[in-house]
Amino acid sequence: MADPIFIERLPAAGHEWIDRDQRLCFSFEGRRYGAYAGDTISSALWGNGVRLLGRSFKYHRPRGVYSMCAHDANVMLENGETLNIRGDTTLVEDGMDLTAVNTVGSLRYDLAGLTDRMSGFLPVGFYYKAFHTPNWMFPNWERMIRDIAGLGKVNPAAEWKPSPKGYDACDVLIVGGGPSGMAAALAAGRAGSRVVLVEDTRCLGGSLCYAGATAPESVATINSMRDEIAKLENVEVRLNTSVRGCYSENWLAMIGPGGMTKMRATAVVVATGAYEQPAVFRHNDLPGVMLGTAAQRLAHLYRVKPMQRALVLLGNDYGYGVALDLKAAGVEVAAVVDLRETIGKGELVHDVKTAGIEILAGQCVYEAHPAGGLRGIKGARVCPVNSDGTCISTTGINVNCDGIVMATGWAPAGDLIGQAGGRLNYVQDAAQFRPDELPPGMFAAGRVNGVFGVDARVEDGGQAGGQAAAFAVGKELPARRRPTDEIIAPSHPYPIVKHPKGKAFVDLDEDVQIKDIVNAAKEGYDSAELVKRYTTVGMGPSQGKISNLNSSRILAKATGQTIGAVGYTTFRPFTQPTTIGELAGRRFHPDRRTPIHSRHQAAGAVFMHAGAWLRPEYYGPRVRHQAIVHEVQAVRHSAGIIDVGTLGKIDVCGADAAEFLERMYTGRFSDLTLGRCRYALMCDESGVVIDDGMSARLGDDRFYVTTTSSGSAAIVREMKRWAMIWGLEVTIIDHTGQFGALNLAGPESRNILGRLTDLDISAGGFEYLGFREAVVAGVNCRLMRVGFVGELGYELHVPAQHAAALWDAVIEAGQPEGIIPFGVEAQRLLRMEKGHQIIGQDTDGLTTPLEAGLAWAVKMTKPFFIGQRSLKIVEPRPNVRALAGFVMHDSTVMPSECHLVVDGDEICGRVTSIARSPTLGHVIGMAYMRPDQTTPGTVIDIRVEGRLVQAEVAKLPFFDPSNERQKS
């Protein structure tokens, strides 16, 4: 490949941001270019003579450098898997392989550029009117629009790279490292506050870094303030960091080199400066037309000559400084076009006159003259203009130039103020918005506050910093006065010139033109918010920072309102495009493991997520179905062991423990005797089943209850809440994570357990639903004789750090019987054979115990329990559904959970659990159905993928109806 193109820059200057000792090489649209370290992509390309950097979103018009400060939304690039890189602010990296997004074919020959020629047929809002008739065409339109729209294509297979997120806090956060921000940092720092000063570029100084002739004292000012800040240990400077969002209580989201920081500041100084605003005229979007500050950035920071021959269009004295900067950079300034009829008498104006630059006062740029198929400009027509943007004559004069530089005014960078709930008011004299009301703890300083002179900005920042420091420590705020500012009206009130042929762009992101705003007003969209929605002005990546003010001006004129009445659109985070990766951060998704997890891994478990828990679904190496059948058969014929450490495990202690549980659960506890356990069912206030488990009495004032795995946290929370409300003497101790638990089940389980404990576990010594505390395998255990899976079984609960040892001991002791671990799926099948419900699977958010067949667990005669009042209301009424079992002898088509039980056109219920029982040899299930359908033998219809299959209602439990096995 050929050597990269490398065009030399302007002579080195002390304040430049490029490192001429480090040359980099990158490619753009298949062509290699050279760059210096410190170059942005746009500055490097512009420095190499490349003028076509991107295409616009809608009309695919050629675009070049415009702002050089993160608003060049049409210069979006792709580098491998990284999309939407902003060329104006992203630094060149060696080896980058860049292509422009949003092109069809190539950037230079973009086939979608045809839309520009058809733009007359594609005004804003046409999509609202065009694509809904006829209805059948809409999907096609939608597909086409989706294909065309979007910037870049996401590669779903791209490697995930974590973007860190961090937390931080400070007394005073200062947003913006310009003169006012630095002054604020110094004032707050001297007052002893812990200050964080955030600057989104690579060095402090703000606009003074490229001020040139507009602020000749800038270098000295910056250096002295930087030196003093560096000496303050309590002031931390964060460069290349931008504050993207401001939320309540001064909680700010900042993006920097280390990812996102969530900063909590006691006080915030907003010293974010101002966005320079463009003029609007025909072809004001083409490469070569740029803001004055963009030209200054190119010339001063990157030492790139912005153009060869410039026409400077200005509406304030600042523009004269820009003209001088251009001349100093070797640009031939063809003329200065001052929109004002009366030009200023300041020093800059004098210097321009002295430099021999022609000044055309009371004139405007009526249109730019395109060159090279819109890929640049070759001149402009200058015409006389009124202050309201009306051309007095359109004949004017033609001026040859390859660049038009606009310096017509500013809009405050007040995004954070707006996000925090502050208000901006339009100040007629200054022709711009200024902060009016600020939320507590937020202070504005500098150009965002409408203060433009360098000395005035420093003074304003110092005052704001002093106030912020006082606020941070709760002191009375020192008085503040507005500094005397030498620049009275830095913005032209209407730098907008209509052209009968259009293509005068208000918003370059979305290709919104003057006529679009006017048409929107004619259609009745008379507020800034409505016009934004209708025209999409301000909805592009730069979020209206260089378009909203002009849009409001046009709307105000079109509707006869004041700009203040038209207002501005709502400021919402983020202030700059922020990647999903930055928002996602490291993606913390906690998962829980039981203390026996490593044993399951060793046994070949295939894990499943059960809420946050990782649980063995089944154990390999058998395939899923075979493994489940194998595990079920082991439990039915010999012994199996399952980890039930995920269950909620709670101690309820205190003198009122029994009374408390009587109120929390539907059953009785006061008569629960020591050494016994009992099923416990919990409802909410509406009588809906929310949880179940086992309860055991450990002592007169101490109970142990278990909850479902997914419900434990909520149940503990509810218990603590009710304990406080009722004022009972009760202590809730959550052992859920602190205890491991396992269930040993099967006809051989007694023999196995007997080898590990001295406890009398004979049928008479430890009967069904008994509870004991004893040492098992050298571990203090809580034992419950329960039968969830319908077999003789023991649930053993132990401190988590002993659970693995107990598991190992049980497995070893059960070797003669061939004990194996069984997983969640086998347990589900076993319990279904026994007709035991799982709360949350066989119940839903409306199920009462009366419908779920759990009325036996509800003691309505108690004085009170949660949900009792509701159940008393529904109890006399007939159930509308009931849970019942069913069997299927022909299971050619097998329903799934949630398939509907129907009767003709009526939906009667749904399947809640279904599986093929290896024990019974046919499909069994449970379903909600009409109560009259629950009679065993009734045939019900279940709708499966549009067809009906038949099942026969059967009595529960399907297996061991006399419960002999679990009670044995």
Binding site: F588, H589, F739
Partner: protein
């Protein structure tokens, strides 16, 4: 049968992969050393499993009074930590709730556990089998800041806070161990492996890694 089984750290399987030197402490195999590089890691940031430290939870209206009879003064303020004469720590986490954490060689917890064997009115023994980690080294604050909204500089001496670390509820406090400032994290053991892995990922970006407990408790060797 008597209680003879060993305790297992919730991080045992993770530590085992690091080929540790195991040392039995308070009935648990604890990783005392994970390699020769440990002192170097402590100069940046290191993660150490301290789940072997015995802990005793006490709950109930009689706790403070009963502990006084055992010559243990419970801090009056909530979440205040006090160090006992044998190096154990005691913290009040509720009006009637106290946690005591031992150190290798200390006898307080054994003594209290024995005393609790006889029924003590209004005092309930609460099993405390948490996972316990130490983040040690100068970059510990940065690692914590990436996972938790409570910053190290907000942690007062001799006090703990309950907060969320990497999405997990945890007690966080500062402790100096062997002259090294540590951020201690104590949390539900079921999150142990998750937390260990997440923290190690972040720590690795700082050039840190896992260490055994001996560099923080050298006298226990």
């Amino acid at each position: 049968m008597s209680t003879t089984a060993f305790r297992t750290s919730p991080l045992h399987s993770e530590l085992e992969q690091l080929s540790p030197t195991w040392t039995m402490v308070a009935g648990m195999q604890a990783a005392s050393c994970l390699g020769d590089n440990e002192m170097h890691l402590l100069e940046t940031v290191a993660l150490c499993d301290l789940s072997f430290l015995p802990r005793l939870g006490l709950n109930g209206p009689g706790v403070t009074g009963w502990l006084q009879t055992q010559d243990i003064e419970v801090p009056a303020a909530m979440y205040e930590l006090a160090t006992l004469s044998d190096g154990s720590s005691v913290v009040r986490i509720g009006t009637n709730e106290v946690i005591i954490e031992g150190v290798p060689g200390a006898g307080t917890i054994d003594k209290l556990t024995a005393a609790l064997a006889t029924d003590v009115k209004d005092v309930f023994n609460v099993t405390r089998n948490e996972a316990s980690l130490a983040l040690a080294g100068p970059a510990a604050a940065d690692v914590l800041a990436q996972t938790c909204s409570v910053l190290v500089r907000d942690l007062l001496e001799q006090a703990l806070v309950y907060t969320r670390v990497a999405g997990v509820s945890a007690a966080v406090f500062q402790q100096e161990l062997n002259g090294c400032n540590c951020v201690r994290l104590v949390f539900d053991p079921s999150y142990g492996i998750y937390m260990w892995r997440e923290l190690l990922k972040i720590i690795a970006e700082y050039g840190g890694g896992a260490v055994g407990f001996a560099c923080l408790f050298p006298e226990s060797q």
